[in-house]
Structures are given as C-alpha cells and as structure tokens.
Symmetry: C2
Subunit: 180 residues, 2 copies
C-alpha cells in the first residue's frame, strides 16, 4: 500500500493513518471486520471487490498491524482475519466518518443504526451512549440493525443476509453463513 | 472522484463518506483546510501534490459540498477554498483518525498537539476538553502546536512555517505568508 514519494513527505499522524487505512477499500474491509466478517470469501462477496485487490489489501492491513490471521480450519489450513487491538481502536473514527456520511452524503440517511447493547439506546454522534454516559462505546458492546426508515437493498450474500437482522459487532458472521 | 461500479454497491453511510473524502489526498486537503490553508498555491507547496491532482480533488470536494470557493482578490479574480458547514463537521473523525495514526502508525508519536483554545488543556482521545467537559471541541476553538518531543522536519513552505508556531485552526494561513 505504498502511497508515493510526495505523499510520504506528509509527516503527520493523519497522513500516517491514511497510509494504513486511507486506501479506498481498506476502511471498508476494516468496517466489515467490525461487522464480524472474518473469511476471505465473505469479504469477497460482500464487498464485490476484485480478488487480487482484496488479497493485497488484507495483506497490507496484516502488515500494518490492523488485522491478524488466525486459523479456523486445519485440513486444509484456512485462515480468517481478525482485528488486532490497534485495529479495534479504529472503531471511533470509523463510526464518526460513517455518521458524517449518513448526514451529508447518503440521500435518505444511513442504512444501519448503532445502539449500546447493554441498554438498547442508540449511540450519539460521538459514539457514546446517551443513556449510560461515559466515552465512546467499544465496538464489542455495540449492536447494529437495519434502519427501518430505509428499504434494504436486496442483496443475497451471506454477510448482507446476516446484517438484515440485529447483529452484535465483532460476532463472527461466517459460522452462521456456513450453518445454512 | 468516481470510485468504480463495485464500490458503488457498498450502500452504506461509510462507503458514501469515503466516496467524498476517501481518496488518498482528499482528507489531507481537508486537514490543510482545517489548518487554515485556503489558496491553491499553499495547498500545492504544503502537500507536494501534483497540480492536476490538486485541481481535481479541490473541484471534487467543492462538488461534494465539503469546500466552497470564495474570492479573495478581484483583479485578476482569485478564489480561495473554505470548509462548508458540512466540511467543518469532518473535524471529529479527522481528529480521531489522526490520534489513531499518532498512536499506532507514527514512530515517535504525533508531530502536532491539539488543545482547547479557551483553557489551554490538551484535547482527549475523543477530541473533547478534559478540563471544560462537554462534547468534542469544534475546530474553531482548537489551537495546534508542534509536539516539543519531536524534532520538526525542516520544511520551508509558508504553511509549514506558520505551523511551526501555535496556530488556531481555521485561521487563514495565506495572509501571514503573503505579508512576508
């Protein structure tokens, strides 16, 4: 995910962050990882991304310490991709950017809503729980659900089907898809 | 800033946000706009970006409603680029992504620190003021300064020189550069 010599002159923490996750697909891969997507084929069908691009981006995110590979099957050996601790800390900026997109770039508003799992209250603009207070709710304590004000796009891939129901972030989606 | 047919399938607020600001240079242009950069040549020298790329990205950010053009000179007519209200709301996700980059992707930590102008207290991880409380501090009330723990890169463009001192976000940098 090299970004060119000029770009590297931007000696700033934001530029460094964008070197890791600024590529157009990388943040959507990270988003899917928060949704619980772990397996290559699930990223592939949900993102509609070319196979070679997905391979390159996953490898770059592993090299950057955002994702880690973990075996989910031994014979033949298969790996899934999980968020590292550093990757998990991308939830607040990702959530805020998503909320901005829902307000300013998505006609009709967002397709998913995010709530605090413990109390069911929708997160505020900063990703905190207005009912429980405190800082931004960690991803593992967030439940997403389709926005009832939006008609869902009729997509049939396993990830889209899983996300058509309330779903706790980071809970693996692949196993449910495999069980069908 | 078209992102390809596959990408457009990602019917999600984050994907929409990334269509607007997900291109690798766009968020750095928006960052510079928060720093107070308004003029084409100042973006050009500070970002080290090819002229044609900068033109395309500025036009796309104007078309997306993130930046607006405003004349700063009549003969010959010259325009600067300022953040719109929607653009100003990108400050919290930008700040959070920058903090993430400072923690996880910048060896030695961030080059700039951000404080609440009213009280001088450094912002917390969520962009709020630990002293005054409340939600994230708006960009207009934030002062940035070089991180004394870092040796500044020896850059001599007007924007870098202005940012070598404490600087209030959104205060125009160009006029100081012109006065030299």
């Amino acid at each position: 995910m090299a970004l060119g010599t000029d770009y590297e002159l931007q000696d700033c923490a934001l530029a460094r962050a964008l070197e890791v996750v600024g590529e157009r697909w990388s943040l959507l891969i990270v988003r899917d990882a928060f949704y619980g997507v772990q397996r290559f084929n699930d990223f592939l069908t949900h993102l509609g991304i070319p196979r070679a691009v997905l391979t390159a981006r996953l490898n770059a995110l592993v090299a950057a310490g955002v994702l880690r590979k973990e075996p989910y099957q031994q014979a033949p050996l298969r790996h899934g991709y999980l968020l590292t601790d550093a990757g998990l800390e991308l939830w607040p900026p990702l959530y805020l950017l998503s909320r901005w997109g829902g307000r300013h770039a998505t006609p009709g508003g967002p397709h998913h809503l995010f709530a605090h799992a413990a109390c069911g209250t929708d997160l505020d603009l900063a990703g905190a729980c207005p009912h429980c207070g405190g800082p931004a709710v960690p991803a593992a304590e967030v439940v997403m659900r389709p926005n009832p004000g939006r008609s869902a796009a009729p997509r049939t891939d396993p990830v889209s089907r899983a996300l058509a129901r309330p779903h706790r972030l980071l809970e693996p989606i692949a196993s449910a898809a495999d069980a069908k």
